[in-house]
Amino acid sequence: MKVYRPSSLGEALDVRAAHPEAVPIAGGTDLMVELNFGRRRPEAFVDISRLPELGVIRREGDTVSLGAGVPYARIIRELPDQVALVQAARTVGSPQIRTRGTVGGNLGTGSPAGDALPVLAAYDARIVLASARGTRRISWRDFLVGPKRTALAPDELIVAAEWDVPQGPGSFSKVGTRNAMVIAIAGLSLQVDEAARGVRVALGSVGPTILRAPDAEAFGAGALDESGAWANPEAGVPEAALARFGELVAAAAKPIDDVRGTAAYRRHACGVLARRALTWALADRRLPAS
């Protein structure tokens, strides 16, 4: 097996163009497992763990650009105000995995169980893809096209995820049977967007890919409207509306039974998490801005 070790993004893109069969590897926390189980035997790897361009976190105005090679441990340390993303990063594996694993890996694998992905979906993130041909930005939705399928072209690399920082509280929650180091049975990220008076909800591990819950989002935003909570955070939202919100999120899930959990439980958990996440967001809106 061949391993290419480019030292800059430019070199790496040349390798990609010349050897599209070479699989990019950064932290290796997914790929090495596949390799060890004999599920994949790529002819070649491109080691992208040393590309300085992928290790950058950049903030320009209200936009965050997160390099695809930034490990979860750094996200926790360096992006404390991106609350939902940090919460997701904390649920990833063990400390060792968080030191190696990257958001770029979550995107590249494209598994619906990738812990960072529901947050990127709730952030309405754009994925930055580069090749020797140039750079393009596509929405997370157009990038994650199916279960473990992405829109990455054979000569491209994932360079970064970027998003406009939403003004408003957000969270990420993950249900697994075990209290740590567990693959999600259901994951949910909720983000309030005060400027657009919107509520965004994204679900992981309950469908072939990351799902948004548009009906629930519309209902949630409407409920805040109705109670006057957008203007007056103290107003809150009635219990019945919270319950309905949970039901609509649960209805958006497309879960299956597998070795980790049942479809019925996954759907149920989505409803519970949604209701809790909205309740927390409403409570956090009442806190004086720090």
């Binding site: 497992v33 249900v175 998490l273």
Partner: protein, 789 residues
Amino acid sequence: MPVADRAVEARPGLGVGVSAPRVDGTPKALGAFAYGSDLWVEGMLFGGTLRSPHPSARIVSIDVSGAIVLPGVRRVMTAADLPAKRRYGLDVADQPVLAEDVVRYVGEPVAIVAADTPETAREAVAAIRVEYEPLPAVTDMEAALRPDAPRVSELGNVLRHIRIVHGDADAEADVWVEGYYEIGMQDQAPLGPEAGLAIPAADGGVDLHVSTQWLHSDLWQIAPCLGLPEDRVRLHLAGVGGAFGAREDLHMQIHACLLALATGRPVKFSYGREESFHGHVHRHPARMWFRTGARRDGTLVNTQARILLDGGAYTSSSPAVILNASTFAAGPYEMPNARIEGTAVYTNNPPAGAMRGFGAVQACFAHEAQMDRLAAALGMDPLELRRRNLLHTGSVLPTGQVIHGSAPAREVLERCVALPGPADPAPGERDPLLLPGGAGNVGRGEHVRRGVGYALGYKNIAYSEGFDDSCEAVVRLECDPDGVVASVHTAAVEVGQGLHTVLAQIVRTELGVDRVVQLQADTAVGSAGSTSASRQTVMAGGAVELACSRVREHLFARAAARAGAGAGFQGPFRLSDGHVFSGDTPLGRVEDLLDTPLEATEVYRHRPTNRLDGRGQGEPHLMFAFGAMRAVVDVDEDLGLVRVVQLAGVQDVGRALNPRGVASQIEGGAAQGLGLALLEEIQLRDGHIANASFTDYLLPTILDMPPVVSDVVEEPEPGSPYGAKGVGEGSTIVATAAVAAALRAATGRELNRVPVTPDDLAGLAGPRTSAGPAPVPDVPGPRPVYEYR
């Protein structure tokens, strides 16, 4: 040599009853300890195993030509190449070394290869073509009992049936409670997967370095399959990374020896995790139907129990496991009348065998749930109901066996009740990581209910049913340039439980010597029996104590002879401060008496037990150890997630030879019991293991395992070395039942199956149901006892 440290020197000054530091602690903590997977010798080949993908199939043809032609492949073997005996097994030699005409479970070895590299071995395995004709499979333990079920074994599908009829088995009671219980298949999940290295020897024999639990049992099974006399097969213990019963059965031993002898080269096997899941036996899944009757005042009257265990495709230790499950079905309570029917069946599931708790875990889950249910029906406090019926010395068990030894069940329970509860931080100050759901950030304490549950249980120590249980030890006392040193040589296996530390403590106590060296366990000495059944502290400890006293006698005799007949001995001989004394008169320095070494070999045997008769009456067990546990749990009612807040365990240990070692065993055993209650299950789909990795076979992490507080009851067991009882299994037996009881208390749900799932706790799945007890097979009396040879 490519093996673990040949000898471990103990630290001085720490005898029996002291928390001596572990002799293997530092090397293990530093990563310097060599485990079986670290075995290496120049020029060795790597073994690989082709395993059956079918739960039941006929082998139509095997074509190895694609494998043999691969560069670097040195040998491929199938059943056609076996040189001698073709089957092996602990109790019954029914397991093929390599499958012949049929395969009976997914994972059964069909062919083996030896190659220059592990990668080549894997490629060679993949290149073997086997044509199978799938046959109907029995993968349900109740279906196995149907008359029209396909026969898994030539012997039929009933592996063993135990019938215990005690007192008036039809005795009426004022109050009856009924329950149906299920237990899933737990894996021992030792962190060190199976590994060993076979090295062909100049005498035509073979030296096998292997991680195992009983070197001689391995030897007795391996030698006939190689066609070699036992003295040409020499086993040496490689570092064992946990065992828990999984290493009682053979795995790669015969395969490595066959390939080493066939190639004339050393051959190493080292299973990965996925292969390990397929390569060893598991805990028996169980279905249990119980009726328990009591008088209005809470006095137990009658237990009617029907226990069914899935033994999988081969016998392994199922006969003894079903004996235990059956004999302990009534729990640690006086039960004047009982009818207990226990059946282990063959199925086309992976074989089940020994695992920590060995049948008592399954029984405890059922009898303790029944006690709580009975307490509710009687309107009584569950602890009070237990107190009213506890076993004690002199009690008669359902087998008719009278407990002659210590049985401090009451003291065990009361000390457990008295252990301090969890000190919780005030609400809102609690680390969210310690809420149900842990690192997942799923709640801020919403709908969290607390529950407290107790369980009490007991189990036999050492082997039962008339088995000739023994251990040999050689102790040598000599003087080297650094002074007096004792060496201990046994075949007893240190699996990580602390045996070497305890044996060194015994030697220090008996011989007054600071330096104790343990020689590597091997088959150059006599059998030590298995490191199982909580027996090795008693058995190896007993043998070492005996050998030490013999050495001491030699030493005294030498001292007396040298002092001369006229010395006028002042009283009994004793050892003190490195001198031999007679009364208060010093006869000489030990150092000076050891111009030539003194050595003694002794065999320790425990008092005989016997078999059950046709009504399940007899004296099958040697001694009993009792355990109690209290579990405190928090349950997120909406999500069905759990945080166990505290486990409080008390064990009856006879005497704690190393108190810290005992506490560690209680803690580790509790973790394994908690795992079965909440997480650990091999999920079988038509005989296939659906989660053969640690990604999906979930062991408790540090966020799942709470602090354990523990205490011991020390009431010496008469006739046992130092009065000690074994300590390895007690907490595992009660932890599962205690956690389940606490979950029931928190949720009010029935929870009659472990592992309990989030669906169960959130109310999405109801209790498991059954159409009624499985039919009792028409098999008279228990089958013959365990025959290891």
